[in-house]
């Protein structure tokens, strides 16, 4: 195994592991499954290390790997190793969001349902993960200009949807992104 690549992967996850974990934790229920998904992401990155781009492009590339892992996620009964189980325990004991955050989640979920899958992903990779258009392009294999176009359009549409939202709509609408699957 190449020492340079070993070091690069170590640095990548040391610096950005919690960001990748956040990406997964914001998109899966129960949230502790994000630990399994991060573990799978790490395995995939090691296995595909020959394709690992140089820094800083390796960060959005790793987000792309995590996205694929998430897309293929099926809850399994695979036994967790100790480290993954420990992380799952941390995630399971995170404090629940406050009432106003839940309410904001409902509002956002309603609006996001009307976006395409790709537009939704672009908006959230920007808004939640803090990726730039170039980084989102690398993660999704899209030119940055296309991302920029889609992001501007989707954010405009989202603003309109949020301002037009009917507050009396069924409040039992599933919260957060599980509802978008």
């Amino acid at each position: 195994m190449s020492t340079t690549q070993d070091e690069q992967i170590e640095v990548l996850f040391h610096a950005h592991g919690s960001r990748l974990l956040g990406y997964l934790a914001r998109r899966v229920l129960p949230v502790e499954d994000a630990a399994d998904l991060l573990s799978e992401t790490m395995l995939t990155v090691w296995r595909r290390r020959a394709e690992l781009p140089a820094a800083p492009d390796d960060v959005p590339w790793a987000f792309g790997v995590a996205r694929n892992v998430l897309a293929n996620h099926r809850r399994s009964s695979t036994r967790r190793d100790a480290a993954t189980a420990q992380l799952a325990q941390v995630l399971a004991t995170l404090p629940p969001p406050s009432a106003d955050r839940v309410e904001a989640g409902v509002d956002l979920t309603r609006a996001l349902r009307d976006l395409s899958d790709l537009d939704r992903e672009i908006v959230l990779l920007s808004g939640w993960e803090g990726l730039t258009s170039t980084e989102i392009g690398l993660a999704l294999a899209l030119p940055a200009a296309t991302v920029r176009t889609k992001l501007a359009r989707a954010r405009q549409r989202l603003r309109r949807l949020i301002s037009d939202a009917d507050p009396d709509e069924d409040p039992r609408a599933p919260v957060f992104l599980r509802a978008l699957a």
Binding site: V90, R101, A144, T149
Partner: protein, 245 residues
């Protein structure tokens, strides 16, 4: 002047089910480090047990798959991953693909789909950048290099013009922000003069399926009003200064 906060960004922040700072504890970091060591060990075990193809073989298979995928572009979208930068460096990829956008299939038009890593793509981009202006101290060379040597994607001519416009706009947005921060009114006025003209760019007529011109107009309005908020937000999301200097 205080930067205004976009209500959409406020909602996104508030609605995030888990916030990244919640995942930055030492315990999480220790778990991640242990999981990484475990993953590495697992992969080494897999390799020593000949339980699958070696990494280079996997990579080659992926490259072949990518070429087949490129031929199927007509039924997918304006862009998709195909081939590798290595192939492009060897000059294997021509600029054109022989595939044209179908009406309604892409955001741009019915022009030919082009390979991003073709050696001709960089020259085409340089030509489009030359038709626009970059702010003093900025260059698109880094962005061109980054785009044309990475993973190959399929892009249309109008998309390349849109990229050049984006880099130009970014250079002036960053220049405006620098000038505003340092109180250089002359430089800020110069940047404003360019930014207010961008919404009228003919390139936007080709690439804008809705929302892009309005986004540029919001930047132009903010520049004219001396409000850094919208400009900073766009620069944070869309402008990679490292590739533009």
């Amino acid at each position: 002047m205080n930067a205004s906060v976009d209500p959409l960004d406020q909602l996104l922040d508030k609605a995030a089910p888990v916030r990244t700072p919640e995942l930055s504890s030492a315990q999480v970091q220790r778990s991640i480090a242990a999981m990484l060591a475990s993953a590495r060990q697992q992969v080494e075990l897999d390799a020593s047990g000949a339980a699958g193809p070696a990494p280079d073989v996997v990579s080659l298979d992926r490259r072949r798959l990518g070429r087949r995928t490129a031929r199927a572009v007509v039924v997918s979208a304006v862009v998709l991953a195909a081939g590798t930068g290595v192939a492009a460096a060897g000059g294997f990829l021509p600029l054109g693909t022989g595939v044209f956008g179908l009406p309604g299939m892409t955001e741009n038009d019915t022009s030919e789909l082009l390979n991003s890593t073709s050696p001709d793509t960089a020259e085409l981009l340089r030509g489009y950048v030359a038709q626009m202006t970059m702010a003093p101290g900025y260059t698109a060379e880094g962005a061109i290099e980054q785009f044309t040597t990475g993973e190959n994607t399929i892009v249309q001519d109008a998309g390349l013009q849109g990229m050049a416009l984006g880099w130009s706009s970014c250079s002036w947005e960053l220049s405006w922000l620098d000038a505003h921060a340092t109180g250089d009114q002359t430089a800020q006025d110069a940047a404003t003069a360019v930014l207010v003209r961008i919404p009228d760019s003919p390139v936007l007529l080709r690439i804008d399926g809705g929302g892009v011109t309005e986004a540029y107009q919001a930047i132009a309005d903010a520049a004219a009003a001396g409000d850094p908020g919208p400009i900073q937000r766009d620069a944070d999301v869309n402008c990679d200064a490292a590739y533009l200097r």
